[in-house]
């Protein structure tokens, strides 16, 4: 039902298309026009000239999650660290919702009638849980907002220039967003609830967009040094930094305000403002750069690049000691205890992460254009949790708590993401969320080595089972016999290529015996020679009694052809150190059907080592990953 009325301020004709509209900003003179209960018109303050948006404009049509909408109007608000837009949209069924646009994020919200009271603003803190009828929300941001102005049709009454306290947050699982706006006079809250949208979820038709380019053409002159700002700027830009004097310029008001100033030497950034970086098949541009410093064992820094793509929105690229990560804001529950310890499990939404480290960083440098106001010197407390290659950071700056979810960007991906010719710094050490990558030559080696291990163990078992040791000869040889050479009784070898073993025992007593053996065939020819020895010593010293060696010996030998053989035995002995022989007798036995099982221990050991290379390599990698975090913890102790 369309209504036409004339602006009480300038008299121009204005059109209202939705019956739910309570406020209209005059299309011509920008005066806010209100309806009261008697439907009488009242003129309010004039709105600021709001910068155009590349995403929406009043009258544009689009789709959100498949439902068509028309943009009715817009309000712009400023808060302590930036500004946001609320776009009022009429859905195809006539229902009015609003799309909030804050730091590149989109929220589709509608009013919520509270069935139970929520805490007053003074009792809220970042992280406070709030009951919103049957849902539970977590406060992420507290602040005071001021309405800068508006355009088009607005479904409720807002005085331009009016200031009110607000609390924003999301559901504990990040499944919805909410806002609480507290009336300045009564303190009564008005609640809004909605969905968190991705940039791709919503948008006006390309031909309906207000600005053809993402960059705005409005000139900015630095109030600090008077020089023009010529860097990048988007309609979502809240802050730019003067390249000439380093002053941070907040842009959320009609006038430009200086917030902080870079001092000292500019940190070394790998990427310049405007560098194109293609990640996840999206071409971004570096819009802003920040450098944070943390005083831990010594001051060390990390750079953060704010990337922007008209299609994908903002992306945060972080660089620390040659390692890169990308992240985006997220809204899920985060259940880290107040004093977590490294490796402690932290529930982040439905997922489980491990706490890595926490601390406080100070912003030391900022340049380019940012979608929020970042003041040099401001401190941010953080908790860093990992699930390689993913991570989640909880960041608390002032009264705002933010959650960023990111992932590690491999060097290979970074090298393809940046323009050719640009050099990346060499990575130092292992980064917290760096995924473990097995070296190419090690890939697939563990299963192969495991197979060898199994085969050799089976062969060992078979070899042990096959070692029957059938005795062919047993004989006692006196010292007199072996001193001269003793030829044993004949024994018969049944098969060609038989492994035999000669073993023996002598009652040695602090004495030794060295034995020569010769295998003699039926033709009284020596076909093989070998030797063995035995020694046994014992005694008592200051540490007690001791023994060394044994009176037993045994050695394998090999017979090529089956047949009857004898063993020629000669031995010499002695006692002590160069003492006379004690002439101990020796019992010998010759046995056949042997296997030499210990050979299999060599491939078993080798394949075991090779099979464990992968797990050991990964273990060492993980140890290096956790060393900085666990080391810090130990230092604290």
């Amino acid at each position: 039902m369309e209504r036409e009325f004339h602006c009480p301020s300038c008299g121009a004709a204005n059109l209202v298309t939705n019956p739910g509209i309570l406020m209209k900003v005059c299309d011509y003179c920008k005066t806010a026009i209100y309806w009261d209960k008697a439907s009488a018109l009242r003129a309010g303050r004039k709105s600021l000239d709001l910068p155009p948006s590349s995403r929406f404009r009043v009258g544009a049509t689009g789709k959100v999650r498949g439902t068509a909408f028309t943009v009715l109007g817009r309000l712009a608000y400023a808060h302590e660290s930036g500004a946001w837009n609320e776009w009022f949209i009429e859905m195809s069924n006539g229902e009015i919702k609003w799309l909030s646009e804050d730091e590149g994020e989109l929220f589709l919200e509608e009013p919520l009638i509270l069935s139970a009271p929520v805490p007053p603003f003074q009792e809220l803190q970042p992280g406070t849980k709030v009951f919103l009828n049957d849902k539970i929300g977590v406060v992420e941001e507290l602040g005071t907002a001021r309405c800068l102005g508006g355009e088009g049709q607005i479904p409720f009454v807002v005085e331009i220039g009016e200031t009110y306290a607000y609390a924003d947050g999301s559901g504990v699982e990040g499944d919805f967003s909410f806002g609480l706006e507290y009336d300045t006079r009564t303190g009564q809250p008005t609640a809004f609830i909605g969905d968190i949208l991705s940039v791709k979820d919503s948008g006006a038709r390309p031909e309906d967009k207000g600005a053809p380019s993402a960059k705005t053409a409005q000139a900015i002159r630095c109030p600090s040094c008077g020089k023009p700002y010529e860097g990048p700027r988007l309609e979502t830009t809240e802050m730019v930094v003067c390249a000439a004097c380093g002053a941070g310029l907040e842009l959320d008001e009609a006038e430009i305000r200086v917030v902080g100033k870079n001092t000292g030497k500019r940190p070394r950034f790998t990427f310049r403002i405007g560098t194109p970086i293609t990640l996840e098949n999206v071409r971004y541009e570096v819009m802003g750069r920040l450098f944070y410093e943390e005083s831990d064992d010594g001051p060390y820094g990390s750079a953060e690049y704010v990337l922007y793509s008209p299609d994908a929105g903002y992306l945060w690229l972080s660089e620390e000691e040659g390692h890169f990560t990308v992240s985006r804001p997220t809204h899920v529950s985060f259940s880290a205890p107040p004093i977590p310890v490294p490796k402690m499990k932290v529930k982040v939404g439905p997922e489980s992460f491990q706490f890595y480290e926490g601390g406080e960083v100070t912003l030391r440098w900022v340049d380019g254009a940012l979608p929020w106001t970042a003041t040099v010197g401001e401190k941010t407390r953080y908790k860093h949790c990992i699930r390689p290659p993913h991570y989640v950071d909880q960041e608390i700056t002032g009264t705002e708590v933010e959650l960023f979810r990111g992932r590690y960007v491999t060097r290979r991906e970074m090298e393809t993401a940046i323009p050719k010719g640009l050099q990346l710094p060499p990575p130092q050490g292992i980064y917290s969320c760096q995924p473990y990558e097995r070296p190419g030559w090690m890939a697939g080696l563990s299963p192969i080595a495991g197979m060898f291990l199994v085969v050799n163990v089976m062969l060992l078992v078979y070899s042990l089972a096959a070692d029957t040791g059938t005795v062919l000869l047993k004989e006692k040889i006196t010292a007199q016999q072996y001193a001269q050479e003793h030829l044993t009784s004949p024994f018969t070898v049944q098969k060609d290529g038989t492994i035999l073993r000669v073993s023996g025992k002598s009652p040695l007593n602090n004495s030794w015996l060295a034995l020569d053996f010769a295998v003699v065939n039926r033709d009284q020819e020596v076909v093989s020679e070998f030797y063995d020895e035995a020694s046994y010593y014992h005694g008592v010293d200051s540490e007690g009694s001791w023994t060394e060696g044994s009176g037993s010996f045994g050695t394998y030998f090999w017979i090529k052809k089956a047949g009857t053989y004898q063993l020629l035995v000669h031995a010499t002995g002695g006692s002590g150190s160069g003492g006379p022989p004690r002439n101990e007798p020796v019992d010998i036995a010759v046995s056949a059907g042997h296997t030499i099982t210990w050979y299999f221990w060599i491939p078993i050991l080798l394949s075991g080592i090779v099979a464990s290379l992968g797990p050991v390599h990964k273990y060492l990698f993980e140890a290096r990953r956790w060393l900085p975090a666990v080391g810090d913890e130990d230092d604290d102790d």
Binding site: W441, L459, E485, V520, H570, T595
Partner: protein
């Protein structure tokens, strides 16, 4: 490429040691080989022994181990 070669080398070494273990355990590959030419006990005897037997080892002037193998390998 070097990764494949390294992997092939490791697998080759494991295979070689497995084959060597099989040969050593079941075939006695690493036991002292028989003499290339059998040596007659009489030939080995250089001096008369007791009980009319040849003195194979002592005849060669060896006390026990050491001194080389007359039959050669």
């Amino acid at each position: 490429m070097s990764g494949i070669l390294t992997k092939a080398l490791i697998v080759g070494v494991l295979g070689l040691f497995t084959v060597a273990a099989i040969g050593g355990s079941f075939r006695g590959w690493f036991l002292p080989a028989e003499l290339k030419q059998p040596v007659s006990l009489k030939e080995g005897s250089q001096r008369p022994g007791s009980h009319g037997r040849a003195l194979y080892f002592l005849g060669a002037g060896r006390s026990h181990y050491g001194g080389g193998y007359r039959g050669g390998k």
